[in-house]
């Protein structure tokens, strides 16, 4: 059965290692914070100027001056710091953030990602996404495998304006975990009960399938 958003987030949380500095994008990536395993200490970076995002505030903690990059009210964790946007992107561009988890419209087998513009339909802007995919060491994309009409978003080549080229390392969708290799998408794991054939059916790019493909543990 295909994963729901929380399950995708839960699976991605398994990629996070102790001591990592992680930037979480808007949407599914934000949910990853809820599934960080016990005993693993992670510092969440928010590109609007906060290192060490805490949980959402209680009513009485609410502070208009304390938000995350998705403009949601947050709190800050022990050991947090505040800084300006130039310093924030020095962290990102300078390769100090260990992992970035973000959403996408499309990902290609070369590791290209499109996430900020649908010509004639939607232009919200790239925000910090272009800096993040160019700067972080490890880029993981959280997304649905297909659009609402069932068209694959896992492609040979992206069709939409790009956010970055050859930058994505891994993609976790509702159907599969994919690694981007020299030769394209390698299928690492299947959603529970979803067959390799089914995944290939919903994937425009050709999948590299080696040996038995295990089910995700979510």
């Amino acid at each position: 059965m295909a994963l729901d958003k929380n399950q995708i987030a839960k699976r991605i949380a398994q990629e996070v290692k102790d001591g990592y500095y992680v930037n979480l994008g808007i949407g599914i990536p934000t949910l990853v914070a809820n599934f960080i395993p016990e005993g693993i200490e992670v510092v969440l970076q928010s590109e609007n100027g906060l290192l060490g995002i805490g949980p959402f505030p209680t009513e009485s903690e609410l502070d208009a001056d304390l938000i995350n990059a998705g403009k949601q009210t947050v709190t800050y964790a022990k050991g947090a710091s505040f800084f300006d946007s130039a310093t924030s992107f020095a962290m990102i561009r300078g390769g100090h953030v260990d992992m970035t988890i973000l959403g996408a419209f499309e990902v290609s087998e070369k590791g290209d990602i499109a996430s900020w513009k649908i010509p004639g339909k939607l232009i919200k802007g790239m925000g910090g996404s272009m800096d993040l995919v160019a700067g972080a060491k490890n880029i993981i994309v959280a997304m649905m495998h297909t659009d609402k009409e069932g068209n694959s978003k896992i492609l040979k080549n992206c069709t939409l304006p790009l956010t970055g080229v050859k930058c994505v390392q891994k993609v976790v969708t509702n159907l599969a975990v994919l690694e981007i290799t020299e030769n394209g998408f390698k299928l690492l794991e299947r959603a529970p009960g979803v067959s390799v054939e089914e995944i290939q059916k919903y994937t425009e790019a050709t999948l590299i399938i080696e040996g038995e493909i295990p089910e995700m543990n979510v």
């Binding site: 959402f56 300006d84 996404s129």
Partner: protein, 230 residues
Amino acid sequence: MNKVFKNAEEALKGLESNMTVMLGGFGLCGIPENAIRTIANSNITGLTCISNNAGVDDFGLGILLKKHQVKKMIASYVGENKEFERQMLSGELEVELNPQGTLAERIRAAGAGIPAFYVPAGVGTEVAEGKEVREFDGRLYLMEKWLKADFALVKAWKGDTHGNLIYHHTANNFNNMMAAAGKITIAEVEELVPAGELDPHQIHTPGIFVQRIFQGVNYEKRIEQVTIRK
């Protein structure tokens, strides 16, 4: 050293139509509410506004957009604003989108006397169009140029009569860099104190970057997305 002005009206003297104006803030967090309100009440039009976002329909920069006072926006993210989208798609509003880190660094560069620099963000994308691409240590980078303004309008938590500023939590964001990038920088603060009252270690923006300062009034500090823990 007389930088203190009575209010936004006095401090904004000299700001005219068709100028380039930077406005601090991220979303609605840390925006110069008093300065925006004052411009909205003026006849100024044709502004080029540099700001990470464009406010929402009825608050922040959104107010100036609705009143057609803005000719061009330079920003990184402009969601959350229907009127903005309408003006952009109809061609009424010129829009230049920058990656957020590139926008921040272009503004910092202006304040720091650096006319151009290279970044990896945007290589191979639309953002690279018309820009020099250059290889350093085996990787490709884009040349980006400094971004200056006639006026920089910033908002701080505390300020002193010398123009020193301290920001609160994530309300710093673009304010600190913009303060150094305006020909004239106007800071509005929630609390204005005499020089000497702020700890010199804690000052985020040294007063040398600020030409005018005033204590703002009636801050609404609207929250875009109230998110509460149960």
